[in-house]
């Protein structure tokens, strides 16, 4: 009854209100406890320069950048120490002045817990900037601005860490009409964007102005969850200077900060599953990212620091502005230290974050939040019970998937079916696990199924390639064998001609090419071989007087079978037989060529192969040609 009344009242409200802040709705979503107020009581604090900074080269999505420094080099703050390599890549800069002390593998904040290449910097404490080059963005061609962003090191700071210059590049697919600023920050505990908006709304708005200019977007929509009234009002008053920029509050409903969900909330547009939002004219930027863009163009500062929320089981949860590469223990200590029952640390929020492989990892561009976890904060999940198909998971899925079906398919290794049920549309937001009465770690199953499918696809691709390669190899071997035979035959023939003994060839030529002829040649060859063997044996017998009849007996029998030659003039006979054999081979090759010519096929020495293999060879050759062209094109680029 309650529901009906609620529904009716909402319907009436919807129909009667002409609210400027009208937003759309997405399916599902959950309302976890925010835990935001703990870390918003203090302003963003600056952290002192640590004694060492460890800069992983892999801090973004894409290729790792190329290191430009060596151990012992002295670098100034903001100096590039690794350069973007390839299109999707981002540069790394020295967060402060100091000396490079190591370039080696170290544990990085990644779910895998695997070590990766890092540059270690020992700061000298002077924090001296390299000469900076602010850019007058209003009077510089947009292409130049975007190109220069490539060396800014700026990546999406909301956590996706996609290189920013790629997101601004015009790919000709569609014109961007709307810039969406993602300020929803829907994950519990995380408040870094909230605090940035409260304290630096003016700079964010200036950044928005730049990005809007770069994209040529007609309008800008800033989406903030309604649990951040201070940030909303700060952004609202700062945005008064700009026309076509609207600040909209969206209901506090996880995962409203997912880009596709936010676009739907603000614009009512469902980005098709196989397309990027840019293909429908919408681009999304996080508030911290536009702030970094503002600082890059206005002051020339590359990406050397970020704001991190340190919260959870620490004494004084708060936000810090820290240099990239700062060790996490320093941050924890600055937040008053972790309480004694802390078991581990989580990077990101409680819905989508991951366990840090240890506390001794550096802050990276992706590190928006560090949560000290304890059993009382994040209770270990009770043992999983069977799925009762209650579909609470389906009710909360923001993508409108059927998680209970996906779970069933993943569990039974029915991976193709899982793909059919749109497994790859799953955004791993964790809503399904959050509401599961049977405590089933659903998202784990989806991660597993996805990786299995990807691995199987890759293996299939590799197997296909190997098969193609092998078939091509076999065809080539066959072709080479024929070529060799032909060459030998030709060489032998020309040798015979030089000796002016053309009789057997001539004789052969007069006869039509046939299998009978080949048989004759074979017989001759066998006879010759037998004769040779016999001669050898004879010699052996002569030298060994004791051995006679018993050994000699079988050989003549065979010889008799195969006719003419006798053991006496075997040398001469062998020579003649050889000539016959060569002649036969030449004849065969000629006949083949003739047949090919009649069939209208270019002589490719593949004539003996089945049509299927031939077709495959042609295909492979086309693929090769195309690949070659592609490589050349790339080189030209």
């Amino acid at each position: 009854m309650n529901n009906i009344i609620q529904f009716a009242s909402k319907l009436i409200k919807d129909l009667t209100s002409d609210n400027a802040n009208e937003v759309y709705k997405f399916h599902g979503g959950v309302h976890p406890d925010g835990h935001k107020h703990e870390s918003t009581t203090h302003p963003i604090a600056q952290l002192a320069i640590p004694e060492t900074l460890t800069l992983p080269l892999r801090q973004h999505v894409g290729y790792i950048p190329k290191v430009k420094v060596k151990v012992g080099d002295y670098v100034l703050k903001g100096e590039m120490i690794a350069e973007a390599e390839g299109n999707v890549s981002a540069a790394i800069h020295a967060p402060t002045s100091g000396t490079i002390t190591a370039i080696e593998e170290a544990v990085i904040p990644h779910p895998s817990g695997l070590p990766d290449m890092c540059v270690t910097l020992a700061p000298d404490g002077k924090d001296q900037w390299t000469p900076l080059n602010p850019i007058d963005w209003k009077n510089t061609p947009i292409n130049e601005l975007i190109t220069s962003l490539r060396s800014s090191g700026i990546v999406g700071l909301g956590g996706a860490t996609f290189p920013t210059h790629i997101k601004l590049r015009k790919d000709g697919a569609s014109d961007i009409h709307t810039l969406v600023i993602n300020a929803a920050e829907c994950e519990p505990y995380i408040t870094c964007d909230d605090m940035l908006m409260r304290e630096r709304a003016d700079e964010i708005i200036k950044g928005i102005e730049i990005v809007q200019h770069l994209l040529g977007a007609a309008k800008v929509m800033i989406g903030i969850e309604d649990n951040k009234p201070e940030a909303t009002s700060a952004m609202h008053s700062a945005s008064q200077t700009l026309a076509n920029v609207s600040v909209k509050t969206v209901p506090t409903l996880y995962p409203s900060g997912d880009a596709r969900r936010l676009i739907h909330l603000l614009l009512g547009v469902e980005v098709p599953h196989h397309k990027r939002s840019t293909e429908v004219g919408i681009q999304v930027f996080n508030v911290a990212t536009v702030l970094a863009i503002y600082r890059y163009f206005t002051f020339g500062e590359p990406s050397v620091s970020r704001v991190v929320t340190v919260t959870g089981n620490v004494d004084t949860p708060q936000n810090f502005e820290v240099l990239l590469g700062t060790p996490v223990p320093l941050l924890i200590a600055a937040a008053g230290g972790a309480k004694t029952d802390t078991t581990h640390f989580v990077m990101g929020g409680p819905m989508m974050g991951f366990d840090l492989p240890g506390i001794n990892v550096p802050i990276t561009k992706a590190a928006n939040c560090i949560i000290a976890a304890s059993p009382s904060l994040f209770a270990p999940p009770p043992p999983a019970m069977p799925c009762i198909r209650c579909t609470r998971c389906a009710d909360v899925c923001p993508v409108n998937l059927q998680p209970q079906e996906l779970y069933w398919f993943a569990k039974s290794e029915n991976l193709e079916k899982a793909r059919d049920y749109h497994l790859f549309d799953c955004i791993e937001c964790g809503c399904c696990t959050y509401v599961c009465p049977s405590n089933i770690p659903l998202v784990q199953y989806y991660r597993y199924a996805k990786s299995e499918i990807i691995a199987a696809d890759k293996a299939q691709e590799a197997a296909d390639l190997a098969r193609e390669r092998n078939e091509f190899r076999l065809a080539r071997i066959e072709r080479e064998k024929l070529e060799r035979a032909q060459k030998h035959a030709e060489r032998a023939a020309s040798a015979k001609n030089d000796e002016s003994k053309p009789e057997p060839v001539k004789a052969d030529k007069e006869r039509p090419a046939s299998s009978a002829e080949a048989d004759d040649a074979k017989k001759a060859a066998i006879a010759a071989a037998v004769a040779r063997a016999k001669a050898l044996k004879l010699a052996a017998a002569q030298s060994d007087a004791t051995k006679t009849g018993s050994e000699e007996a079988p050989a003549p029998a065979i010889v008799e079978n195969k006719s003419e030659p006798t053991a006496t003039d075997n040398d001469e006979q062998a020579k003649k037989d050889k000539q016959a054999l060569i002649a036969a081979a030449i004849e065969r090759a000629k006949a083949q060529k003739l047949a090919a010519a009649q069939a209208g096929v270019a002589p490719k020495n593949t004539d003996d192969l089945s049509p299927k293999v031939k077709a495959e060879i042609t295909e492979i050759e086309t693929i090769r040609a195309r690949a070659k062209q592609m490589v050349e094109n790339k080189d030209a680029d």
Partner: protein, 339 residues
């Protein structure tokens, strides 16, 4: 390691089942008032049998016993079966039905979460086919019986099939309205006359409609608690009302009005407690509507044209068979996909 989310907010399966049991209480209270305290004996018998059977089979299957018993799903099955049986059913009938529901229909398929058919309805159908005479003999509500039995007499009847001295079986039983209606219609009587009989109440069966109202109340509580989705009861009630209305309008002398069908037999138990079994039911919102509508149509047809006292059990089992098909063809549109 990536094992997020770290937080959850979900009632456990035990809590869900407990709420279902709680929602049955108003109906049971009405039941006691109408038919006497015998039902409490039946409920206890069914519960004990179900739990013992479940424990025994889990033991044989070498599965952990206590978590499965603690999820209370066996108790829900036992109660639903007990409430579907005729009041004062002999003890062995309850035991056989409960055993069958748990052992065959639930555990042999793999236990909780794996049974394709509603266990309580399987138990009921097996009893109905095996013991049709007992299963169709309903005692009269206390208010209508010539000789109302005391609680102790009911206990004796359940275990001994013994009636107090001087009381004949006919004095405690009566035809159910659905049965009575069917036989009277065959005798060429008209609905308007038939429903004048004392066993008919305001809408359905005299007394029985109180129990039905109790189920309705409990069912609304489940919807409000979001234990069950609104789709199933709404579609069931709407379809049953619609189909009976159509027949009623076409020929009021032979077909009763929708209110009668909704308030008679197991309609409300079915709408809120039986078709809402998530395991044997469909999972998609649209599928739930189709499933419930299918059960309603089949229930009506079996009631009106079939040979059984009520159609719910067979309707549910038949629709259970269609669940994989219904689910496959009612997949909702995924975000960002055209249908």
């Amino acid at each position: 390691m990536n094992r997020s989310p770290y937080i959850t907010d979900a009632p456990t399966v035990s809590v869900i089942m407990l709420k279902v049991l709680l929602a049955l209480v108003p109906g049971i209270m009405a039941y006691v008032w109408v038919y006497g305290a015998g039902i409490l004996v039946t409920l206890s018998l069914a519960t004990v049998t179900a739990l013992v059977t479940e424990a025994a089979i889990l033991k044989i299957r070498q599965r952990p016993i206590s978590p499965s018993l603690a999820d209370l799903s066996a108790v829900v099955t036992a109660w639903l079966l007990a409430l579907a049986l005729p009041p004062l059913a002999p003890w062995w009938l309850v035991v056989v039905g409960s055993f069958f529901a748990i052992a065959i229909a639930k555990q042999l398929y793999g236990g909780l979460g794996y049974n394709p058919f509603n266990p309580a309805m399987v138990g009921y159908a097996v009893l109905l086919i095996s013991f049709p005479v007992i299963m169709t003999k309903w005692p009269a509500p206390l208010m209508l019986a010539d000789a109302p039995l005391s609680a102790f007499d009911q206990l004796k009847f359940i275990f001994n099939h013994a009636l107090p001295v001087g009381v004949q079986l006919d004095a405690v039983t009566s035809a159910t309205p659905l049965d009575y209606l069917k036989t009277q219609l065959m005798l060429k009587h008209e609905v308007a006359d038939i429903t004048q009989a004392p066993i008919f109440g305001q809408f359905g069966a005299k007394g029985g409609e109180m129990v039905t109202a109790g189920y309705l109340l409990g069912g609304l509580y489940l919807v409000q608690q979001r234990i069950i989705s609104w789709h199933l009861p709404t579609a069931f009630i709407a379809t049953l009302a619609l189909i009976s209305l159509i027949f009623n309008i076409m020929d009021p002398t032979h077909f009763t009005n929708p209110a009668f069908h909704l308030m008679t037999g197991a309609s409300m138990l079915c709408a809120f407690f039986i078709i809402t079994d998530p395991i044997s039911g469909p999972t998609t919102p649209k599928g739930k509507l189709y499933f419930a509508a299918g059960v309603a149509v089949l229930t009506y047809l079996i009631r009106v044209y079939g040979g059984y006292p009520d159609g719910v059990a067979f309707a549910v089992l038949i629709m259970n068979m269609c669940v994989p098909l219904i689910d496959a063809y009612t997949q909702p549109r995924v975000f960002g996909h055209k249908h």
